[in-house]
């Protein structure tokens, strides 16, 4: 057998065997991300810990009062409940959409992806307001129901838990869709065909073959959505009733109004500890050495793994995909065109009209739900009144004019764009490296490290902002773009890690080993084999990193100083004073970005698939 590249004299077989194991590779891979992470995040967390125990006195009083007098505990329970329900709803709605996305042709898929991401660069403030417009007593939904004669009294849809769930689900849905979609697009549909050729009906083949293969994505999506939901506070504050208070709102008050770091730090430490503990417990419960539940369990049966490994398309044609790897995957299959067009139609729909209708219908409803606020925001931006008004009584372009003529808006938008680009580059690089290293690790060490990289999603942003201020002030970068980029990168890395890890678990080791056995060095293996296979995940992670940075508000509030203003900062500060319809105009303009991407994609894909060499 070909030896793995080893450049050291081997004295003892034990050492040679150890070097064959990937431990050294892991350490090298993990070094850069780990150090970056420790600097950016570990140091603030250490400071938080010291604040929570009242260093140098070292008391536990903040932890004790968390469970006692301060009223945090019922709110924590409520927060966890809300997050759980939101995660479940996102799963139920997101799965059909992801399935549809992964099953249609490239052009249609690009269009659908554009629709899914259309609302995502719009401010969550504006989207929350759009829900108020939709769900209010005299809002759109109630008016339609009354007009249809279905109800006499308006339904209580707003300022209670219902509207909070609806608002949060709408905002968090893409975070469920993308991991699911990334995993689904890597599944070989021929396994389902094979099952059907054995006589399984469409439901059975879905439940027994397709669904288990997507569990990686399900778990990653649920993890991401749950952790994000835990940290929400603007949406529950705007849409919720008295009881819909989340832990983040309490921490916000403690930090912003009382300037008391102790209780907030203790609460954050408890949240962090609980998350890591949960991850460790869940990973220990699963049996087997390579059972890594979070981030992707290898739950495929032996038969399915064998089938995956027998896929025979050469690695190089995968690397030749153009445009977004996601959409190009199908098109690079080197097969006769008739079979390819057949495979394009989801196997499950092979002649089964009811299954097709059901899935498409469900996905369609979910998509409509996703887009509903968008349909409100655009008319809002054309209103002529001084405040937000729906439906607008008179139309005007003044808010667009206000945006373009106002230097501060344009400067804020430009700054946000630059910072987001830098954040994406750094976060994607660091996150991908970390995921590669994590994929090679096993057991508790992996869970701990995974938990560390995911931790910024758990620790409330406001507390991170406070913890970052002092070190940044000491090296005198408060207000500089570097500080803002650093603050954003911390929060962006977890997205990349979660999504890329999910995809890495789906990708079998055998591809890498096969390439190595052909003589490829580690770098070549990475570029030619691993990277194309995880490309959907890397791109997805990059997209989320971008959105995170573009939307990031709280940490920026602390580290941006008085000189730098990002777009979310400007929108938030305007909202504090008046709800200026300019933000509706800005949101509508931002929706153009996915449309532009769609157009570019269509232009790239002008050439027909036949031009792919086999």
């Amino acid at each position: 057998m070909m030896a793995v590249e080893v450049s050291r004299p081997i004295r003892f077989p034990q050492i040679r065997n150890r070097l064959r194991r990937p431990t050294v590779n892991i350490i090298l891979l993990i070094a850069a991300p780990f150090i970056t992470f420790c600097l950016l995040f570990g140091y603030p967390v250490a400071r938080l810990f010291l604040l929570s125990v009242d260093a140098p006195h070292f008391t536990l009083r903040h932890y004790i009062s968390f469970f006692g007098a301060d009223g945090y505990l019922p709110v924590l329970i409520r927060t966890v409940t809300i997050s759980g329900i939101v995660t479940l709803c996102c799963l139920l709605l997101g799965y059909p959409i992801a399935y549809l996305l992964s099953s249609v042709r490239a052009r249609v898929r690009a269009l659908l992806l554009c629709l899914v991401f259309l609302p995502y660069l719009t401010s969550f403030l504006v989207r929350s307001y759009a829900w108020i417009v939709l769900l209010d007593d005299r809002g759109v939904v109630n008016s339609i129901l009354r007009w249809l004669g279905l109800i006499n009294q308006p339904l209580e849809l707003i300022y209670n838990s219902t509207s909070v769930y609806i608002g949060m689900v709408q905002i968090l849905l893409p975070y469920m869709i993308l991991p699911l979609f990334a995993v689904m697009s890597a599944i070989d549909r021929r396994t389902v065909l094979a099952g059907q050729s054995m006589g399984a009906g469409s439901l059975r083949s879905f439940l027994c073959i397709f669904l288990p293969s997507t569990l990686n994505g399900v778990k990653s999506g649920c993890l991401l959505v749950f952790l994000l939901a835990l940290g929400f506070y603007v949406t529950p504050a705007m849409l919720g009733g008295l009881r819909d208070v989340t832990l983040s709102m309490l921490i916000q008050t403690q930090v912003n109004q009382l300037a008391d770091w102790g209780p907030a730090s203790a609460a954050s430490m408890l949240l962090l500890g609980a998350t890591i503990l949960g991850m460790l417990l869940v990973s220990k419960k699963s049996s087997g050495a390579v059972m890594l539940v979070i981030g992707g369990a290898n739950t495929q049966s032996i038969g399915e793994r064998k089938m995956n490994n027998e896929v025979d398309w050469p690695a190089s044609s995968i690397a030749e995909q153009k445009g977004r790897g996601v959409a190009g995957a199908w098109d690079s299959l080197p097969e006769p065109s008739r079979l390819k067009s057949f495979l394009r139609n989801p196997p499950l729909f092979n002649g089964k009209v009811t299954a097709a209708t059901f899935t498409v219908g469900l996905a369609g409803v979910a998509l409509l739900f996703l887009l509903l606020p968008t349909l409100v925001v655009v008319p809002l931006s054309f209103g002529s009144a001084d405040y937000l008004q729906f439906p607008p009584t008179a139309l005007s372009l003044r808010w667009y004019q206000n945006f373009f003529s106002n230097r501060s808006w344009l400067e804020a938008a430009t700054l946000s764009l630059w910072i987001a680009t830098a954040t994406v580059i750094i976060a994607t690089a660091v996150g991908t490296l970390a995921s590669l290293a994590l994929a090679k690790m096993v057991g508790s060490a992996r869970s701990l490290l995974y938990g560390l990289f995911v931790a910024p999603l758990v620790v409330p942003a406001i507390v991170i902002g406070v913890a970052l201020f002092q070190p940044f002030a000491q090296i005198n970068i408060i207000g500089s773009p570097a500080a803002i980029i650093a603050g954003h990168t911390i929060g962006a890395i977890p997205y990349v890690v979660i999504i890329v890890s999910a995809l890495l678990e789906t990708v079998s080791d055998n591809y890498e080993r096969a390439a190595q056995s052909m003589g490829a060095g580690p770098w070549r293996v990475f570029v030619k084999v691993t990277l194309p296979l995880i490309a959907p995940g890397v791109v997805g992670g990059a997209v989320f990193a971008f959105i995170h940075s573009f939307d990031e508000l709280v940490i920026t509030m602390f580290v941006a100083g008085i000189n730098s203003q990002t777009l979310p900062l400007k929108m938030w500060e305007d909202i504090r004073n008046q709800i200026d319809p300019t933000i509706a105009a800005v949101s509508s303009l931002l929706m153009l970005i996915p449309i532009v991407c769609l157009v570019i994609f269509q232009l790239i894909h002008q050439t027909p698939q036949l031009s792919h060499k086999q």
Partner: protein
């Protein structure tokens, strides 16, 4: 193996080189003589127009405008880490008193103020740590188009609490940030205004229990309350007076009931360690000039603290301001320093209220 090591190093270096231009850009330290924090939106525009630009002309100083809001957290971080960027800021009286307790503000130099102006200002506006800049209140606001019959409108807090006689959807200020509608709750329960402080917290919450089921939305930010009335989502609310005036100015059919209004004073403060503290003192003195206060009041529908400003304000317009003579008679001033008084265990009343509120909302 070596390749991997080098490549990952190169990657990190590449990222670092992308970032490096930014690291070395410091925040611009121009030759400013004064930095004033003005908030945002219309409010900021009014401050710039009525205070900053005239001050620049009168004093010849170069003033930089910071469109940013001050919070207790930011103030604490800036002062403790010695990165104070702003010289003058305004904040609520409550937050100013709080900041003073922690030693985060410079004392005001009243020796440069004119005696005439000082005498025309009420004692609440002349604190050692801050100067009252403007006054507004929380008042009962109703949708006049729904309630054209005056007998159907609540004429005070007690009637606001009476849901049987005055049916309608309501909105109140949430207590999640500390201050809330506790004074109104006590007045509705029958406490005399001069016996309000120290607040009987238990009694206030019992009174809130009565109104709790009838509140459609507890608003957190002023703009939320304004939007609720604008959207006709509620029939009555207790909002900030300037929010209600904004709606009236935008021709929405909103009525204001000044009875039992609660007056709030916002203070100009100087953060401790401000780089241009002496210029800051001059600026704050400038803001108490009657003509400036009159101009600002007219623009923002908030009352001046210098009574002499009323001499130049149109009396008809003045009726809409919180501290006009008729409106003053039926309102009371919130005692902000009480909120930052600490009990024997070191917790301030504000912290007690927040803790009580967090418990109360889950019951």
């Amino acid at each position: 193996m070596k390749n991997m090591n080098r490549r990952s190093m190169l990657k990190t270096l590449g990222a670092a080189s992308v970032a490096s231009p930014f690291v070395f850009i410091r925040s611009a330290k121009a030759a400013d003589d004064l930095v004033v924090q003005v908030g945002s939106g219309d409010f900021a525009d009014a401050v710039v127009r009525e205070y900053i630009e005239p001050f620049q002309k009168a004093s010849g100083l170069n003033v930089k405008v910071a469109k940013d809001w001050m919070t207790p957290a930011k103030l604490k971080l800036a002062v403790e880490n010695k990165v104070v960027e702003t010289d003058v800021s305004y904040t609520g009286w409550l937050q100013a008193a709080q900041a003073n307790k922690s030693g985060y503000v410079e004392p005001i130099d009243y020796s440069i103020f004119s005696k005439a102006n000082l005498d025309a200002m009420p004692p609440e506006a002349k604190q050692p740590y801050g100067v009252g800049g403007y006054v507004y209140s929380t008042v009962i606001v109703y949708d006049a188009s729904q309630f054209s019959d005056p007998t159907k409108r609540p004429k005070g807090v007690a009637e606001f609490w009476d849901v049987a006689k005055f049916p309608g959807r309501r909105s109140l200020k949430s207590g999640v940030y500390g201050s809330g509608v506790y004074e109104e709750a006590l007045i509705a329960d029958g406490v005399a205004i001069d016996k309000l402080y120290p607040l009987d917290i238990d009694r206030a919450f019992k009174s809130l229990d009565r109104i709790k089921p009838h509140i459609k939305k507890w608003w957190n930010e002023g703009a939320e309350g304004q939007q609720l009335l604008a959207d006709k989502a509620v029939d009555f609310g207790i909002l900030f007076s300037n929010r209600a005036s904004n709606l009236q100015r935008a021709k929405a059919p909103i009525g204001i009931e000044w009875n039992n209004g609660k007056l709030l004073v916002d203070n100009w403060i100087i953060p401790k360690g401000a780089p241009h503290a002496s210029n800051a003192q001059r600026f704050i003195e400038f803001t108490t000039h009657p003509d400036r206060q009159a101009a600002f009041a007219t623009a923002m529908f908030m009352s001046p603290t210098n009574k002499k400003a009323f001499e130049t304000i149109d009396p008809e317009f003045a009726k809409q301001l919180p501290t006009s003579p008729e409106n003053m008679k039926v309102q009371f001033v919130r005692n902000d320093p009480w909120y930052v008084e600490a009990g024997p265990d070191g917790k301030t009343n504000l912290e007690y209220l927040i803790a009580f509120w967090n418990k109360w909302i889950t019951t």
